[in-house]
Each structure stands twice: as C-alpha cells, then as structure tokens.
Symmetry: D3
Subunit: 163 residues, 6 copies
C-alpha cells in the first residue's frame, strides 16, 4: 500500500475528479478559498441543491420550520445542502445512495429517509439501485433496518402518503 505521503500527492483536488457523466461540472463553482466565500453563495448553492434533490417539497418543509427555529432552517440550507450535499468529488447518485445507506442503518430517521429516497430518484437513481443499497444494509445493521427502509421506498414509489 502507498504510504500517506504518497497518497496525499496522489489525491486530485476535489474540483478535478468528477467520475460520472452526470457530474458535468455544474458544481465547479465550489469555493476555491473558504475564507473569502460569502454566506450568500452558500445559501444560493444550498437552495439549488435542495431544489434539485427535493423539488419544491424540501423548501416547503424547511420553511415550515422557520417559525420555531429559523437559524436551524438556514443551517439545513447553508450547511447540509450548501456545504455538504453540493460538493463535487462524488456524483450525486452516489451521494444519495450513501445517504440512503446511512439512514437505513440508523433506523430512526424515517422522514429524512423518505425525502432522500425521493431525492435519489430525482437525480437519476433507479429504484432497483435503492433496493440494492437497502438490502445490503441487512448485513451491517440487521434485517429490521432493511425491512423498514423498504417500506419507506414502497411508499415513495406508490405515491402513498402513509407515514
């Protein structure tokens, strides 16, 4: 194995390794220098990613939180979507499948799993790919985690409103 020194030299900068045709560089405006980035670019990037993943549903859900915790609503947009989920370095489909893996394994974030299953479909994940990730979680988090996640997927695919 390479040692860490070699590995560091070997790592492409995040801006240089889109690996998927879908990752067509639209994220390339990400911050080259975090210190001088203004909040408004985080906000704009966050809102764009939020819309790409969730359509109008995500913004509505976040707005509903503004009466009780307005700064937290901002953090979701600025940090979760603006800093994290909009990063280049992984194509969006892999990001969404990784999110589904985590939420399936944690097992206590059903509303969020529902949002991100829809988001995965929105960025082009096939239903069967989502099924595959959820099935794989049976190995790492147990069968109940997978059963309950598949039920969420079925709701989203069937357009059911259940919860």
């Amino acid at each position: 194995m390479k040692n860490r020194q070699e590995w560091i030299l070997d790592v492409p900068s995040p801006a240089r390794f889109p690996r998927d045709p879908q990752d067509d560089g639209k994220d390339a405006g990400a911050p080259p220098n975090a210190e001088v980035v203004r909040e408004d670019s985080r906000r704009a990037r966050g809102l764009q990613t939020l819309t790409e993943l969730t359509g109008d549903a995500g913004a509505a859900a976040i707005d509903a939180m503004r009466d009780i915790a307005p700064e937290f609503a901002d953090w979701i947009v600025d940090f979760s979507y603006g800093d994290v989920l909009s990063r280049p370095g992984l194509d969006r489909r892999t990001r969404q499948l990784a999110t589904i893996a985590a939420l399936t394994a944690l097992g206590n974030a059903r509303p969020q799993l529902k949002v991100h299953v829809q988001g995965a479909l929105n960025v082009g994940c096939r239903p069967q790919e989502i099924v595959e990730v959820m099935m794989q979680m049976a190995v790492f988090a147990g069968f109940p985690a997978t059963v309950n996640a598949l039920a969420v997927l079925r709701e989203v695919l069937g357009g059911e409103s259940g919860g």
Copy 2:
C-alpha cells in the same frame, strides 16, 4: 411520479443493469433461480468476493473465528459475501461506499469499517471518495461519527497498526 405498477414493469432485472465499466459482468453467474442453487456456489462466490475485497486478510480473520463459531464463519462467507456483497445491480465501488456510509453512521463497528475501507481501496475507490462519504455522514449521524471514521481511514492509508 410513476405508480408502483409502472415502476415494477420498468425495473430491469438485476442481471441486466451493470452501470459501471468496472462491473464487467464477472458477477453474471449469480443465481437465476434461488431454489436450485447449491450451497457450494454460494460458498465459492462468497470466497471470491471476500478475496477481491479483503485480499488474504478477510479469510484469515474469518478462519480465526472457526474455533468458537464455525457456522457463523460460514454465514459471513455464504450470506454476507456470497449472497449480498457479490450481487450485481450496483458496481462494487458504490457497494463499498454504501458500506462505509453505514459503518461510519453506526459508529460502533470500527474493525469492520477498517476492513471495508481497505476493501473500497481494493476495488478502485479513490481515497478522496471515501473522505467524501465520511464527511457527508456528519450531516446524518453527527460530527463525531465522521471524525472517528476519518481516523480509521488514516490508519489504513498510513499502514498504521493503531486501533
């Protein structure tokens, strides 16, 4: 959104949707009909996937478990590697990144995270992709989960033995 009926018709059979050039069909021998598959094909497929992901390390670790729980050692090979991790339907890199997402989020499976980080590197994931998945987990499972996972990644990359 499509309703479930349409979705079902739309789903390609698992055997037909490798999406990644690395997924070159070597998994294509997966069971077309589970009822008539013999245990020995699960075993063979499991051992092959185990070796591809972990080199010799995984087999050694599993063998060390045979004195105390031999059937469980078999289950790891037959079920985890033979049934689950060797499935087509997701390329191996996405599978490994999904595993890393889950183990990072769960936060209580450090030895397994180490094995699967190594496995991810073995099937062609770039270190930066693993970093990306671990960073993303800060949103879903909290910052400590990411910090502790990055420490495992550093150990693997540096060839450190720490634990």
Copy 3:
C-alpha cells in the same frame, strides 16, 4: 476458568444439547454438513420456522415484499428463519426472549418487535416472561426502551391494532 482448549473439547455439538423439554428434537434435521446442503432445505426449514413463530401473518408480510425486493424476501426465509432462528442449541423460548431483548434495546424496530412478541407467545413464552425481559432492558438500554416495548406487548395482548 477453563482455558479455550478445554472449553472447545467440552462443547457438545449443537445437535446434542437441547436443554429444554420443549426442544424435542424436531430441529434435529439441521445441516450436518453445510457444504452439501441445498437451498431448498434452507427454504423448507425457514418456512416451517416462520409458520411456527408467526402463524400465517409472517408469510403474508414477506409475500407483500416480493414485488419490491423478492430476493430480500427469500433472505428472510432462508437466512433469518432457515439458518438462524431454526437452529438447535437453544430452545425456541429462549431464542424468542433473546430476540425481544435485542429489539427492545435497539428501540427502532417496532414492527419486528410486535412480530416476535407474538412469536414468543406462539412458542409458549408466558406474558410475564416477556414483561421480565423488557423490564430488564431498562438497566441496559434505558427506561424509554422498556416503556415503548411494553406498549407493543400490550397491543399484542389486547389484540389492539394500534401502531
């Protein structure tokens, strides 16, 4: 304490230590040699155990999963029920109580807890034994885990449909 060597010599083979009168040997057909066991015996054993634990309810629930994840439905039957829950070595009542302990402690698998509470009653666990296991979990997983599990038990005992 005995060292590991002595312990290994001391361990009866799984097939030889039913410890409970209820464990009357009906499991004795378990695989003497995993390598040559065919899938269809796992399937048959799994379906039998599934029915013993859940009556018709379990099979119906699993069948409902076949449209979205047919292989996962098979894994539940073949692995969870066929390989694991049908093993000799523990009487069924102890197996079900151990399952209830785990699902109570994990706290995020309410539907599965409900199924296995019913399964425990089906194989002869007394309600008070289930209560005891759930109460004991307050020590290891906290009081909320026990409160929420007891609510599941009450639903099952009262024949309530709540969820």
Copy 4:
C-alpha cells in the same frame, strides 16, 4: 388470542413461576410489598446477586467508582442487581442470555458485555449457548455486532486480558 382481561387473570404471580431447576426459590424473599421494603434489603439482595454473577470482580469494579460517583455505585447494586437482575420470574440463565443479546445488539458496551458473559458462565450457561445468542443477533443488529461480541467471548474463555 385472549383479550387483556383474561390474560391478566391468567398471569401467575412472579413468585410462582420459576421454570428452571436452578431457580430454586432462593429469590423468594423478593418484596411482597414494595412500599415497606427497606433500602438495606435491596442492598443485601443486590450484593448477593452481584457476587453470584461476577464473583469478586464486580464488587471491585463498583468500589473503584465510589470515589467519583458513590451514589451511582449504590444504584448499580441496589437497582440493577437488587431490583432487576435478582428478580424471580426468569431463571438466571435466561436473564444472562437476554442481557448478552441486548449488549451484543447495542454494540457500545463492551466492558459490560465482558462482565455479563462471565456472569452467564458463572450461573451455568454453556459457552455454546452464548455463541448461539450472539449469532442470532446478526439477524437483528447486523454481522459486525456479532463479530465484535464473539471477540469478547473469546477473551473471556481464553482468559485473555485484551480489550
């Protein structure tokens, strides 16, 4: 199924259903009327159960906690061992196996798992029974939970001090 009313009538009082020859009634002094029980009987009962399960090791570990949190040391003796683990209603072996199930599934309580594996051996659980419970947890909490628990069991059986 019986309704709740019938079930309640059907439940034997805890003091009346020891189901195991080992459960020879030595717990029969448990509180017939909680309101008038004095702390010193909880303490005495707790210390007795602590010794039965852990030999001298448990008392030593708890005493080491007295400098920093003396009341918490008391709670362990009085509540965990005096109120909970000393209850009749389940034989001690089933209690210990339920504890092992929970701690295996939770996966973040390794020191406690070690204590209770030893405790299980002390009250007559066979190593293979402990293996069975740990293996079963792979279904409910994932394979890493079982792997890590089996490592703890091996330490205890081998008299290893590793951690």
Copy 5:
C-alpha cells in the same frame, strides 16, 4: 489540572451546591444515608418530582402501565423520579435540558421526549432554550435528530395531539 486527589477534596457535597436561584433547597431532604432510607421516602419524592415535571399526565401514563408491569411502574417513580431526577446538584432546568439533549440524540424515544419537553416548560425552561439544545444536537447526532425533535417541540407548544 488538579489531580484526582485534590479534586475529591474540592467537591462540595451534593447538598451544598445549588447553583440556581430556582434550586431553593426544596430538595434538601435527599438521603443523607442511603442505607437507612425507606422505600416510602423514595416513592414520595418520586411522586412529587413526577408531578412537578409532568402535572397529572405523568402519573396517569404510569398508572396505565400497572396492569401489565406494576413493578416497572414503581421503578419509574422510585428510581427515575425518586432517585435520579429529584437529585440536588443540578437545578431542574439544567436537568431537563440534559434529558432533552439525550432524547434528541438517541432519536428513538419520541413519547418520552414529548413528556420531558413539557416537563422542561413546567420547570421554567423557555422555549428558545429547548430550541437551542435541540439545534446543538445536530452537531453530535446529526440533522435528522434535530429536525425530528423540533417537530415534537412544535407539537407540545401548539397543543397538538399528534404523535
């Protein structure tokens, strides 16, 4: 840093460090000598704290549990409220905020979070303080934990019955 020896000498007895004007000494009757404390004082202290935190709701919920697990209902009163939540050493508002932090982070105890949010309001926590604690949990347990906890807070504040 002080070493442990110095620290021990430095620790005021629990009874001597109320730090908050609200902590006016009404807890001062706490056990000076655990060995001679009778159960009935734990019970009385527990019921008083239960009422202070939950009004009549808590007692009703606990009474509803008496048919199925009467001793567990007692443990909640005697141990959770009588031994733990009624302790001096932390003012009640900090205790409730710590509880809210834990239940938000655990994410699988929604009914209990609801009770303790109401309890926090009952002992004088401001809604914005509860919001702050829940927001802070995004760092340690992830954003879904906070989103779901804020939904519980909104229910309590809005007098909604959902749940």
Copy 6:
C-alpha cells in the same frame, strides 16, 4: 398552555436572553443577518470558541486532520464551533452539559466525550455537575452508558492518558 402564536410573540430574540452571569455578552456580535455574514467571521468566532473550550488541544487535533480532510477541519471550526457552540441563548456551562448528556447517551463517541468533558471544566462546570449529568443518563440510555462515561471523566480528572 399558550398556543404557538402567543409563544412566538413571547420568545425573546436569541441576542436578548443570556440567563447566566457568565454569559456576559461577549457573544453579542453573533450574526444579525446571516445572509451578509462573511465566512471569516464564522472562522474567527469558531476559533475563539474552540480555544475557550479546549485550550490548545482542540486546534491541534483539528490541524492533524487537515492532511486528510481539510474542508472537514474547516467545518468543525466554522459550523460546530462558529455557528453552533458559540451561540448565545444558552450559557456555555449548560451547552457543555447538554453535549455531555448527548455523548454519554450515544455511547460511541468516546474521544469527543473526553474533549467536551475537558471543555466543560474549562468553562466552569464543576466535576460534580458533570457526574450528575452522566448519572442521569442511566435513566435514558442505560447503566453501561453512564459507567463508560464516568470512566472518561475519571481519566480527564486524573490527568490519565488512557483511552
């Protein structure tokens, strides 16, 4: 109870409700308008809070992460410390005790618990207050969570290096 409308009117703006003498307004420079705040103020505020809580240790730990995940190191400073832990609205002692509650309950973030125990001492929490919070967690997350957290506290207080 007030309805939500009344509650919203009743909530002081975060900048107006320091409740503790230690919260002397040094945080008052927090963003009045998030949209125009520049990254460099988040960074500066984060570094200041990091130093107040962790002395030099935190910065060193974060710097060590820069080779492998530099943006994540920034997120810790900017988001965790700059956005969240530096907020007014709760005095720092309550913030640290809430963090300790969460990390004790989660049970899989030992290194972070150690940092925040030290941070709590640094901002004036008394050891006994930390003990109280950890003891309280036995109710919500089980006794092992508290035992393991107390061991971390003892390490910090004793200046032990164990880990």
